[in-house]
């Protein structure tokens, strides 16, 4: 049973550029959440998608946007990259009504130079 798959694993971008990160949820899961984990910190919630709609959002600017596809996979887009956007981006999936913990991917390490 495939877990959560994220791509790419590492990425280097220049300030001002745009980036797209991808996530395939665990089989049977329909909800995808994205988290940003800066070095030495705990993950911070960015937003959550269910039924192709953004359901809730953390304290992140509009430069961060996302999408969920009919097959439940998701993308995280970040525009106008800043040095401070350098972090590990984690995708987590679950299914509504489970009341269970999320299943996480191994993340995408984004470095902005």
């Amino acid at each position: 049973d495939a877990g959560v798959t994220q791509s790419p694993t590492h990425l280097i971008k220049t300030r001002g550029q745009q980036v797209t990160l991808r996530c395939s949820p665990k089989s049977g899961h329909d909800t995808v959440s994205w988290y940003q984990q800066a070095l030495g910190q705990g993950p911070q919630f960015i937003f959550q998608y269910y039924e192709e709609e953004e359901r809730q959002r953390g304290n992140f600017p509009d430069r961060f946007s996302g999408h969920q596809f009919p097959n439940y996979s998701s993308e995280l887009n970040v525009n106008a990259l800043l040095l401070g956007d350098s972090a590990l981006y984690l995708c987590a999936s679950s299914f509504l009504g489970a009341g269970s913990g999320y299943t996480f991917g191994s993340g995408t390490r984004l470095t902005v130079v």
Partner: protein, 118 residues
Amino acid sequence: AQTVTQSQPEMSVQEAETVTLSCTYDTSESDYYLFWYKQPPSRQMILVIRQEAYKQQNATENRFSVNFQKAAKSFSLKISDSQLGDAAMYFCAYRNRDRGSTLGRLYFGRGTQLTVWP
């Protein structure tokens, strides 16, 4: 807003010994979930143990157990018979209840780096 505090940035334990990691949280909710996640160098966040706030009985998973004190808003993790493979960053996390079509989000502490000595 919910907050999660882990006051121990680093802990160490001898192999086969027992170690306790501390966590406190703040919430005005009465029904929620608490988790401990392990993050090894591979970066994947792995669920260690889960506690539902309405359950008074402390959760256990093999060598891992929790001490859940709801009134004190405390949720510590005890690792018994520590193994070299337990070495990792441990995160305490709070999750509020699902509401309608919105899944409860996770709030994480800053983590405790656990070192296991042979």
